[in-house]
């Protein structure tokens, strides 16, 4: 009963690591709210995209997570 979280770019610094496991929760909002306040704030911004199992989530408010999902947090990509 777990979710795998992946933090890309500078979000890995905010999370203290590139990956972590957390107990499964049904919504992305609940997932983010359950993390440390600083990390929660960093992940919740509008510029952070979220991918679940390799697919970008279009509407995170409506998305239902399932046990075993891999949730990746993607900050804006770096410039050239």
């Amino acid at each position: 009963m777990a979710l795998k979280l992946v933090f890309l770019g500078r979000l890995a610094d905010a999370a203290g690591g590139e990956e972590r496991e957390v107990a499964a929760v049904p919504s992305i909002a609940a997932l983010i709210a359950g993390l440390e306040p600083d990390l929660s704030a960093a992940l919740g911004g509008p510029r952070v995209k979220i991918a679940v199992n390799g697919n970008i989530v279009a509407d995170r408010a409506m998305f239902t997570l399932r046990d075993g999902d891999e949730v990746a947090f993607l900050p804006p990509v770096s410039g050239g």
């Binding site: 991918a51 770096s78 410039g79 050239g80």
Partner: protein
């Protein structure tokens, strides 16, 4: 022929361009771009991180878009990940076409999209440690060139 690769070790662009060129005996022209880690500005190393489930499919879709948009015989995209030292190649794009404009424009198109629209996060190592690289406005302007063209057509 479409050939898209992510590499974790240093590579020699010529070792890819030669066989790619030979694989298209009917070509009229081949355009290649090689981007390297620019030395100077106190940068000791560059790290490129990516997210496997998005990065390679994204590069593959970009190659398809270029093959669809320009009259190409083949497109090669090679991109490094991991820690790179100054002067190491980061990216190679090579386009083979019957006519030169398609080859040159396809490379221009692919590089603009790779630079601003692909799933790479970069940080630089300087004397005082690692620093993440932010998005650049210029990259978005470069990308907008291709969107305007779509509207104009």
């Amino acid at each position: 022929m479409k050939d898209v690769r992510l590499l974790t070790e240093p590579f020699n662009p010529g070792a890819f361009v030669g066989p790619f060129s030979n694989a298209h005996p009917g070509l009229g022209g081949i355009c290649s771009f090689v981007g390297e880690v620019r030395p100077g500005d106190g940068v000791e190393a560059l790290e490129l991180r990516h997210y496997e489930p998005l990065t390679l499919p994204g590069m593959d879709a970009l190659a398809d878009a270029a093959l669809d948009r320009f009259d190409l015989m083949g497109l090669l995209i090679v991109h490094r990940t991991g820690v790179l030292l100054p002067r190491e190649p980061i990216v190679l794009v090579s386009a083979a076409a019957r006519h030169r404009r398609d080859a040159i424009q396809a490379v221009d198109f692919a590089m603009d999209h790779l630079k601003s629209d692909s799933w790479f996060w970069k940080r630089e190592k300087r004397a005082d440690g690692w620093h993440w690289i932010e998005p650049r406005e210029q990259d978005h302007a470069d990308l907008a060139r291709w969107q305007e063209k779509i509207t104009q057509v």
